[in-house]
């Protein structure tokens, strides 16, 4: 796939097509190093969408149909690389937009160069809250008037709300809040405690436990949580330490469920926790289950194109895929490859965009420095609860699955099933 696209680009170049005949999109992210599973999945999802669009003749831009040309840059999850890449992209002149970036630090270091030039960027798939709030009003200084940075990710606020909601729905009363000592972990704890208050204090926080990056032995924290009768562990941390918590809980015979941020779906949690990870719940934007024809086509397409049987990060892949279709819709509506016009179109997308995660109806609105949500595509209803089961992430709640099937086909799952059966006959 990668080679094909690269080859395609070469052929285009060889034919002497000048820059004006393609829509140039830059894909950036960490394609090597520790965050690579998310970075490469996003890139591969985006490339799949771009290949589909190009195979269908390209995007209708005004009177012409234009193919998408990819510019690919690996930021290695390093802030300084991110800044250099952003400067390079900002100086290109004929770039239509940027899709990508996993790490918040990279956004903080690089996005200002794009924003200064008004280059449209869709941050995808992750990045903590700070990557957007840096443009918003702050107590000591007003935010930017015009913002060309958009985000396409289930931000931490939504996730924390869902984690708390899930614990309440599962009838837990006493919970332990567990987090790592990084910025990510501590702000996650704050979000969760905040949500517990907002959702009516139905959960009693019996323990708050902290650990450091690199800790392998969580026995002390877990024993304390167990001794005060915690029924569930609400957790905010990253892969390897999350696995140490699951393994430690199994060791001391603690049966409490683990519920936490979407990092619980990363392969370095799932693989390291093994069977002790079963039952762990986390918010997901996409589950690798072919429940709708659109999802099936996407999953099969991805597996075939990249010769894998499990996406390194299904969430990242699906978000990369949908982000391209949203961007393409904006290009079409703008009728131009000019990044400023595309930004305006993005802020007011008239036609719904059919994606693999959802049908995106007017995902963004005019930027308001008082409300970051104007440039956030995700709302609560596009996020579902995922659950780890035997090394894969499946739907945590059947109701989510049923809802998605219904939204996609207008049928209830039972009917969809009989229909599918009829087809196979």
């Amino acid at each position: 796939m990668l080679k094909q696209t690269a080859f395609g680009t070469l052929v285009l170049a060889a034919l002497g097509l000048h820059a004006g005949d393609t829509v140039k999109i830059a894909l950036t992210g960490p394609y090597s190093g520790g965050s690579a599973p998310m970075g490469t999945s996003t890139r591969d999802g985006s490339k799949l969408a771009i290949a589909e669009i190009n195979a269908a003749g390209g995007i209708q831009v005004g009177a012409k149909r234009m193919k998408i040309e990819i510019i690919e840059r690996d930021d290695e999850a390093k802030n300084e690389r991110g800044a250099l890449i952003a400067q390079e992209l900002a100086a290109m002149g004929d770039l239509s937009g940027v899709i990508g970036t996993v790490n918040t630090g990279v956004c903080m270091a690089g996005d200002k160069h794009l924003q200064e030039q008004g280059i449209t960027k869709i941050i995808c798939p992750a990045a903590g809250s700070a990557s957007m709030t840096q443009w918003a009003n702050k107590p000591d200084k007003p935010g930017v008037k015009e913002n060309s940075i958009f985000r396409f990710a289930a931000y931490d606020g939504i996730q924390a709300a869902m984690v708390v909601e899930e614990a309440i729905n599962r009838k837990f009363k006493k919970v332990a809040v567990v987090f790592d000592s990084t910025n990510y972990g501590v702000s996650g704890r704050d979000d969760m405690l905040d949500q517990i208050k907002k959702q009516g204090n139905k959960l009693e926080v019996v323990a708050q436990e902290k650990f450091n990056i690199g800790d392998k032995d969580m026995t002390a924290q877990l024993l304390r949580a167990k001794s005060v009768g915690a029924e569930a562990i609400l957790i905010w941390a990253i892969g390897p330490e999350l696995a140490a918590v699951s393994n430690g809980a199994a060791k001391i015979g603690m049966k409490s469920s683990l519920i936490g941020g979407w990092t619980l779906s990363m392969s370095n949690y799932i693989d390291n926790a093994g069977k002790n990870g079963n039952g762990t719940l986390m918010p997901q934007t996409f589950i690798e289950e072919p429940i709708t024809p659109k999802a099936k086509a996407f999953i099969d397409g991805f597996h075939k194109a990249y010769k894998v049987d499990r996406m390194p990060s299904a969430v990242a892949a699906a978000q990369g895929y949908d982000a391209v279709y949203i961007f393409a819709a904006a290009v079409k509506q703008a009728g131009s490859t000019d990044t400023h016009k595309i930004k305006e179109a993005l802020e007011d997308l008239k036609e719904p965009v059919k994606g693999v995660i959802a049908t995106w109806n007017h995902p963004y609105t005019k930027w308001d420095p008082a409300d970051v949500a104007t440039h956030e595509a995700f709302r609560r209803e596009q996020v579902v609860m995922g659950m780890v089961q035997d090394g894969r992430v499946v739907f945590g709640n059947e109701s989510d699955k049923a809802r998605l099937i219904k939204e996609a086909t207008g049928l209830t799952p039972a009917k969809a099933k009989t229909k599918a059966k009829a087809k196979t006959k």
């Binding site: 450091n212 002390a220 024993l223 390897p240 093994g274």
Partner: protein, 292 residues
């Protein structure tokens, strides 16, 4: 707090402490013959664990993988001896300190490039399900650590006492010059001690990996504690490292329970400072009279 929690913390801490003891024992082996220590011992633990993981991934069964891993560790120990220690010792310089650190850094970079930076699970046929003994949950995995550590230390001690080669080892430890006059090759004996030390490091890696996962940084925490154990116990008492290792492990886990996980390392470090101040030869060490 009730007694069963204290028991639980102390027991799981002490079992982890045995791993510190095993790594500390690796220090002792080379110190005995050459008065030198491999400061890259932690990296030896790590590369051997990665190598054993590769053997497992190639389809080798667990029990066949262990000798392979140990052999690899021994070979790496010999590499350290040849590249970092022998010349420095011949020149009677302290160059081995820096050289062993550098070789360790080299192993670290090599591991990052060959196996990547991620932490990976280490498969084992030994079950991690807890068994309840006197109100304390112990996993078979933890028991395997205890058996492995005490087993290999017992074997090496037997070898030192019962075989001719082992006696040579002891002779060089006691007096290098006198042993050489008796026709024992000190160089060979030092090689032997580095080989054994490497094998011990490899076993430590194989035993601890299923519990902690394998990654390039896996040994950085272990090595500091092993060093504390070696210093507190004294650099020539195998029995001492076992006791101090278990004590330090239990102390750590109790302090992380009572003082908070951030204070986990603190008591061990206080112990290290105290030992250096009060008994520099170690609690179980022999005071050496230095003739001037």
């Amino acid at each position: 707090m009730n007694a069963s929690i204290i028991g639980q913390m102390a027991v799981s801490g002490a079992l982890m402490g045995l791993v510190y003891a095993l790594i500390a024992y690796g220090f002792q082996l080379t110190y005995a013959t050459s008065k030198s220590i491999n400061f890259g011992q932690g990296e030896l633990v790590m590369v051997s664990a990665f190598f054993s993981l590769t053997l497992t991934n190639l389809g080798l069964p667990y029990w066949a993988m262990i000798p392979g891993g140990l052999l690899f560790g021994a070979l790496m120990g010999l590499v350290v001896e040849r590249a970092g220690v022998r010349l420095a010792l011949e020149q009677r310089s302290e160059g081995w300190i820096l050289l062993t650190i550098i070789i360790g850094l080299f192993f670290f970079s090599a591991a990052e490039n060959i196996w990547g930076r991620d932490d990976r699970p280490f498969p084992t046929p030994i079950s991690a399900d807890p068994i309840r003994v006197l109100g304390v949950d112990i996993t078979r995995l933890e028991i395997s650590v205890a058996v492995g550590v005490l087993g290999i230390m017992g074997l090496i001690e037997l070898f030192k006492r019962r075989t001719l080669l082992g006696k040579a080892f002891e002779a060089v430890s006691a007096d290098r010059d006198a042993a050489e006059l008796m026709g024992i090759s000190a160089t060979r004996t030092v090689m032997l001690s580095y080989g054994l030390s490497g094998a011990v490091a490899a076993l430590a890696g194989i035993l601890v990996s299923p519990i902690t996962t394998v990654g390039p940084t896996m040994a950085s925490a272990l090595i500091l504690k092993a060093f504390s154990v070696a210093v507190v116990a004294g650099l020539d008492s195998g029995f001492g490292v076992v006791l101090i290792g278990m004590f330090l492990g239990a102390l750590e886990s109790l302090s992380s329970f009572y003082l908070g996980s951030g204070w986990r390392e603190a008591p061990g470090l206080v112990l290290l400072i105290l030992a250096l101040a009060v008994r520099p030869t170690g609690v179980f060490g022999k005071a050496v009279i230095r003739k001037v």
